[in-house]
């Protein structure tokens, strides 16, 4: 049975490597810029949702305020670049580090809350942060920041002629987020997080320091989401508070994981691959004229899937793997 477990872990890794290789080849055949754009977003949300899943799926601390870390990443990178000329690569790491620290600072009071109270706290804090940024003149206030175009280069992480570099970066990001999850899943932290989610009292009695476990999950989760935010700032090259820190980002990070299977390795990827193209397509084909028709279609789908497969789409696959998921 031990080897069976090791085999499953290895199979997951091989499947992921194959999927990444296939994804890397797709742009060779798909030249349409609009479709490439959707692919970039899909990969980005796969990465974001995978990161959200670490805190909310594995550790069970449902956050609907992760837009805060996304925005922090975007703003840190953009501000460092426009005000101090710091390369986005460093901005990305700085944004990640700042987000991780802020996640822990916020976790310190908030992780004492349980269940719905915690969720509400995350929403409120993200909304407060949004208001602060909207009124912070130095950071562009409500107008936001226009990231000046200085020509295509990997060094400055700017590409105007082609979306392909962004595509490959987003792919790398999704792979990193997946791999970090894969690696943590069979580590002390992975077990602690799941124990904390299922029953904090029992976890504590087995030597798990519940509070520290939550802090660890929050830091890793926020760091990765912030890197995604940094990427997004470079990708769209113009950010304003609402477009990087709005509540919709918190939802768009949570939904793929919830739809695909919360607290599972493959859930966020599966959810993002279905949800993000659907979001984009419904928006462009039926969203234009009739107000909110796209949202109706989108919402209906979520309701149907949640009712039919409450444990997420991955539960269809896990049937053959048995209960072990």
């Amino acid at each position: 049975m031990d080897t069976e477990f090791a085999q499953r872990r290895r199979r997951d890794l091989i499947v992921a490597a194959c999927l990444a290789a296939i994804a890397a080849l797709v742009p060779l055949f798909v030249k349409d810029v609009y479709v490439q754009n959707i692919m970039v977003l899909t990969l980005m949300y796969a990465a974001l949702s995978q990161s959200w899943n670490i805190l909310s799926g594995y550790c069970g601390q449902i956050s609907l305020g992760h837009a805060l870390y996304f925005g922090l990443g975007a703003y840190t990178t953009a501000l460092l670049f426009t005000k101090f000329g710091v390369l986005p690569w460093f901005g990305m790491l700085a944004g990640g580090a700042i987000s991780a620290l802020i996640a822990m600072a916020l976790g310190y009071p908030c992780f004492r809350l349980r269940g719905h109270y915690f969720v509400i706290a995350t929403i409120v804090i993200a909304e407060i942060a949004l208001l602060l940024i909207q009124n912070w003149d130095w950071a562009g206030a409500a107008l936001g920041i226009d990231i000046p175009v200085r020509g295509d280069s990997w060094l400055k992480f700017q590409f105007t002629r082609s979306k392909l570099p962004y595509f490959y970066f987003a792919l790398a990001l999704a792979c990193i987020a997946w791999f970090v999850t894969w690696w943590l899943e069979d580590s002390k932290w992975g077990y602690w997080w799941r124990a904390v989610k299922d029953n904090p009292d029992a976890a504590e009695s087995l030597g798990v320091v519940v509070f520290n476990s939550k802090m660890g999950a929050a830091a890793v989760s926020a760091f990765l989401v912030a890197v995604g935010g940094s990427f997004y700032a470079q990708f769209v090259s113009y950010i304003d508070p609402e477009s990087v820190m709005g509540f919709q980002f918190s939802l768009l990070m949570a939904l793929p994981a919830v739809l695909g299977g919360i607290g599972t390795l493959w859930g966020p990827v599966l959810g993002a691959v279905i949800l993000i193209p659907l979001t984009e397509l419904t928006r462009s084909f039926i969203g234009g004229s009739g107000r909110g028709v796209d949202l109706i279609v989108y919402g209906t789908l979520i309701v149907v899937i949640s009712l039919a497969l409450p444990r997420g789409l991955v539960s269809v696959f896990s049937l053959r793997k048995g209960a072990a998921r």
Binding site: D2, K188, D198, E204, S205, L206, G207, V208, A323
Partner: protein
């Protein structure tokens, strides 16, 4: 009580626990020697579970101190007491329901083993010890109640405790299941682990324990050999009322 040749593994000294106006434990001083199986019994509401929670570190006592293995652990939280060798089960089982049986036990094993492969190996050994190895890959949610009880014990044993606190692990089981449980407790002691068990059902627990401590209305009523305790008129009156005590 006869003095033990060495320091007891666990001692509570004048422990009080009040919840608002309710006194759950008043001036409870007990001790548990190394290698003993001690039964903590008493009618409903006697304060057994409260005392258990105080020993396990779920909450600090209002007053008094708890000495474990020669160290004052009164102020230590549950996780740190586990680290020092206090393992426990819960009266209302608290399995990690979305995790497999083996993963449940791995959580406990991780406190002593940092390498995953070794923790997994260790968890599997503990499952074999508890007779749950065949269920290792099942979800904890899919176990029957008696198996869940054993999973609680397995999880606690995986933390390699010096003292195992069993909170009504034998209650509500069929006679056959209870007998398997009794054998498991004996095996645990044979492995060198001291056991303090809260039990409700006298006829199961009495043949098993070396010593029984009877709590009533938050106080230690009597303690001693099980055969003496069951004949004690005070115990009988606490359980059955004064009328029955007269005949004893």
């Amino acid at each position: 009580m006869t003095a033990l040749p060495e320091t007891p593994l666990l001692e509570t000294r004048g422990v009080w626990q009040r919840f608002g106006g309710l006194v759950a434990n008043s001036d409870v001083s007990i001790s548990v020697g190394r290698g003993e199986i001690v039964g903590l019994i008493g009618p409903n509401g006697a304060g057994k579970s409260t005392l258990f929670n105080l020993i396990a570190g779920v909450l600090p006592p209002t007053q008094g101190s708890i000495i474990f293995d020669g160290e004052d652990v009164t102020k230590l939280p549950a996780a740190e007491r586990c680290q020092r060798g206090v393992g426990r089960t819960f009266q209302v089982v608290k399995s990690f329901e979305t995790m497999t049986v083996i993963d449940n036990v791995i959580v406990g094993a991780l406190i002593r083993n940092t390498k995953m492969r070794i923790a997994r190996q260790k968890a599997y050994e503990v499952l074999e010890f508890c007779g749950l190895a065949a269920r290792a890959d099942k979800l904890a949610a899919d176990l029957v109640p008696s198996e869940k009880r054993r999973l609680e014990v397995a999880r606690a044993l995986a933390t390699e405790p010096k003292l195992l606190l069993l909170d009504e692990v034998l209650t509500g089981l069929t006679p056959v299941e209870a007998q398997t449980g009794v054998e498991l407790v004996r095996k645990v002691r044979a492995a060198g682990i001291t056991v303090l068990m809260v039990e409700h059902v006298m006829e199961i627990v009495m043949p098993l324990v070396d010593r029984a401590i009877v709590l009533n209305l938050g106080k230690v009523l009597v303690e001693g050999k099980p055969t003496e305790v069951v004949r004690n008129p005070e115990v009988i009156s606490a359980y059955l009322g004064d009328r029955h005590a007269v005949g004893a």
